[in-house]
């Protein structure tokens, strides 16, 4: 059991500074609260070794640790019961290597994605991830949540791009897995294991990714659509076509499909034209955006679910279930009380549900009941404490849960890392 509550603040500070170095620890302030819970101290170790030593100390002294990057997603999932130590990675923000000839880069965990991509752009390359808050969200946090954005349609999620990882284990050992090459099957794929682990297994200290060249031209076709069913049928038509969009997004209300093409100019133009005709064939009106209009439209789209104060649920369904799900949602929630964006081609949606906690909980529960295990999921990302007290943030995990617990137990035997917050309470 973790229990740092009995320790005095001075004691904790002194302990942390002994292992992480002078001037690395401070008492937590109001801004450090995690989903309403105030931690005791914040430690910002300057190196992988210092992170490892901090963890060894926390393990020895049974202190609960929450790992923090940019702090943009710390309130996702189950709220913590108590937090002794916030371990911040923000002092580790270097791009350690950009091997542009090999299309790979190794980056420290605390580096914000946008800063990394600015650096990679010097050689016309990028790490093709476009989750929300790229200027603050760090590489470590993006890996830990496996977060992504519209371009996941073409490039995948962090899980698809990660090649190797450096980690600090809960017991204070530093270890690595994978490597710096794009193809590698030596040993277990711990880089992917840590991806999406929500800080429950180890601290990611650095990671290597596969990169892509920056596209020369971008065009987006914005298509207005009559309703949810038409939306599904048009999305399916795009999937069945030979067009190669980098994003195939939906948003509602009102229902729209946003289809992005990034390539050489001739191809982006030609594909945009074909997309317009495909939409027209289904009776939908489309227009092509580029340059400033296009960027502004995507910015607005990306921000949409996060604006306002509602709960955010990430829903994953089969593309063929999209129409039903959205129709049901509009009826159950009332169309004015929710806001949906998401990957129409992948069946991954972000739904903002407004209203009070009671209504939100009802909706989430009903939504989960509609989705059989193995055919989708509904995970609560952001939500009020009242809501999270009413429903489990993660929902059913399936028959792999015991095995996940066994893995957690091996990696973090004293249970100090994000205790109780991860999927299935690991």
């Amino acid at each position: 059991m973790v229990d740092g509550a009995a320790r005095s603040l001075t004691d904790l500070m002194a302990g942390a500074e002994t292992v992480a170095g002078r001037g690395t620890a401070r008492a937590a302030a109001a801004g450090d609260a995690i989903d309403g819970v105030l931690p005791r101290i914040v430690v910002e170790p300057p190196s992988a070794e210092a992170i490892a030593d901090t963890l060894a100390w926390a393990s020895r002294d049974s202190l609960s640790v929450v790992i923090r990057g940019g702090g943009t997603k710390l309130d996702w999932g189950t709220p913590p019961r108590a937090v002794d130590v916030v371990l911040s990675t923000t002092r580790m923000r270097a791009v350690l290597a950009h091997r542009h000839g090999d299309l790979t880069a190794t980056v420290e965990a605390g580096a914000p994605l946008a800063a990394v991509n600015r650096e990679l752009a010097r050689h016309h390359q990028w790490l093709p991830l476009d989750p929300p808050s790229t200027d603050r969200a760090t590489i470590g946090g993006i890996i830990a949540t496996n977060d992504s954005g519209p371009r996941r349609h073409r490039y995948g999620a962090p899980r698809d791009l990660i090649l190797g990882v450096g980690m600090a284990r809960a017991d204070g050992h530093l270890a690595k897995a994978g490597g710096i090459v794009v193809k590698n099957v030596a040993g277990y794929d711990l880089a992917r294991l840590l991806t999406g682990s929500f800080g429950s297994l180890a601290v990611i200290v650095s990671a290597t990714f596969k990169l892509f060249p920056l596209a020369r031209t971008s065009r987006t076709v914005a298509i207005d659509i009559a309703g949810a069913r038409e939306l599904q049928s048009l999305a399916s038509a795009f999937l069945a076509s030979q067009l190669t969009p980098t994003a195939l997004e939906l948003e509602l209300p009102p229902p729209r499909l946003l289809v992005r093409f990034e390539s050489v100019e001739a191809a982006a133009d030609e594909q945009a034209r074909e997309a317009v005709s495909l939409a027209a064939a289904q009776g939908a009106k489309a227009r092509v955006l580029q340059d400033g209009d296009e960027t502004a439209m995507w910015d607005a789209h990306d921000r949409r679910p996060w604006e306002g104060r509602g709960a955010i649920v990430k829903v994953s369904v089969l593309v063929s279930d999209l129409g039903d799900t959205l129709t049901w949602l509009a009826e159950a929630a009332g169309i004015d009380d929710c806001e949906v964006t998401g990957r129409a081609g992948l069946g991954v949606l972000l739904i903002r549900v407004d209203g009070d906690a009671e209504a939100q909980a009802r909706l989430l529960t009903a939504l989960r009941q509609r989705i059989p295990v193995g055919r989708g999921s509904a995970v609560l990302l952001r939500g009020s404490r009242e809501l999270k007290a009413r429903v489990d943030a993660w929902g059913p995990i399936g028959d792999g849960l015991d095995l996940m617990r066994a893995v957690k137990q091996r990696f973090d035997p004293s249970g100090i890392l994000n205790p109780g917050r991860g999927p299935g309470g690991i």
Binding site: R60, G179, Y188, L193, P413
Partner: protein
Amino acid sequence: MNATFLGELDQIVGREGVLRDPTDLLTYESDALARLRRRPGVVVLPKTAADVQAVVRHCHQNAVPFVARGHGTGLSGGALPAPDGVLIVLTRLNRILDVDIPNQRVTVEPGVVNLDVTQRVAPFGYYYAPDPSSQLVCSIGGNVAENSGGAHCLKYGFTVHHVLGLEAVLPNGEMVHLGGATLDTPGLDLLSVLVGSEGTLAVVTKVTLRLVRIPEAVRTLLAAFPSTEDAGNAVSEIIAAGIVPAAVEMMDRLTITAAEAAVHPGFPSAEAVLIVELDGAKAEVAELFGLVERICRSARATEIQIARDGEERARIWKGRKAAFAAMGRVSPNYYVQDGVIPRTKLPEVLRRIRALEVESGLRIGNVFHAGDGNLHPLVCYDERIEGQGALAERVASEILTYCIEAGGSITGEHGVGADKVQAMAHLFTADDLETMQLVRCAFDPTNICNPGKIFPTPRLCGEVPGPYRRHPIERAGLAERF
């Protein structure tokens, strides 16, 4: 093996599904790495996932080790039987269970042959992207276990990028479902760890795969170069131009000669050939293909063949995919190595391999996935000559040191298996390996699932590691841990 134990196996899979006659067992002594052989205690050929589960549970109850085997085309001894263990052969679990075109996925049993998936969905305009050269004969279960790749993985990714869901029997006989039909199933991503775990964590009984739409345009060229270095430069230029080809493959003179002798693809006689394929939207492919052609010419290509149709493309690929097997035409025996380097280190590593060739007196052919730096040096030898087999083995492992020194890996697609366990200790620290085995201990605490593979020193799972304390010398910065 104990008669009661065997009797129970008969009960589970039926008499005709259990092989114990020494002559029957012969086939199963090795995978395609024939150098490593061991007779299994018994071979079982279950027909259903439930049978697999019952067999594994039976093994677990009796503390008998077991090894899963697909079609036995592995090149690292991954399916090498455990001494006195059960070999679970999955070839009879060979049904395609569900084809879901609207959602672009299929669900198959592990014994289904890789190419059968593509053949099944091609009429709908789809294919299964990972295309190992052995795709005519290897199983999806084996692909999952090895995280197999192929020539087209440069753009489309490896098996791990195409597996959405797995059903697997754990070493204690329990069945789990990881991932699923949809993305982002909540919980730890154990699916990704199971992929590429070489049969050491569980026996996979069902796989849901992602399908890829057949592209609008595909164009392929074959360019001949006066040296592998020139060909390598062309690859660098292509990447620097911001092009992501569907495939970039290189073959050197020896492997060209072998392929010509075996399947007559009509390759030019040259020091090196490059196969470059682009696919995607018509306009994109048209523009970039022209660029690739110009790059090859300015990198001193002496001849460029452009495939005019599917048939000519197939001919070019036939030459490439036959390369391993064709080595038999130029050498009585050969050793297939599999290493990876950062692509930009290609010239340097090739120079070292050439020097090694001279020094050892053994010919070394080179065929590689040049786009992703995955080398397959083919070390030629003659086992009738005393000591040459051992020399070839030393030469092959020397090449791995070059890969490690260049920042690469000891295997890009064939796996560690039984063959490269020692090399793992050169690539990874003791802490790295110990961390990987934390996973192993969570899945298989009694070490009965394909034991002896991947790790040089198996970890006993009882112990839970204590907190690490840095040594005072390290603390003072006088020593590095790695």
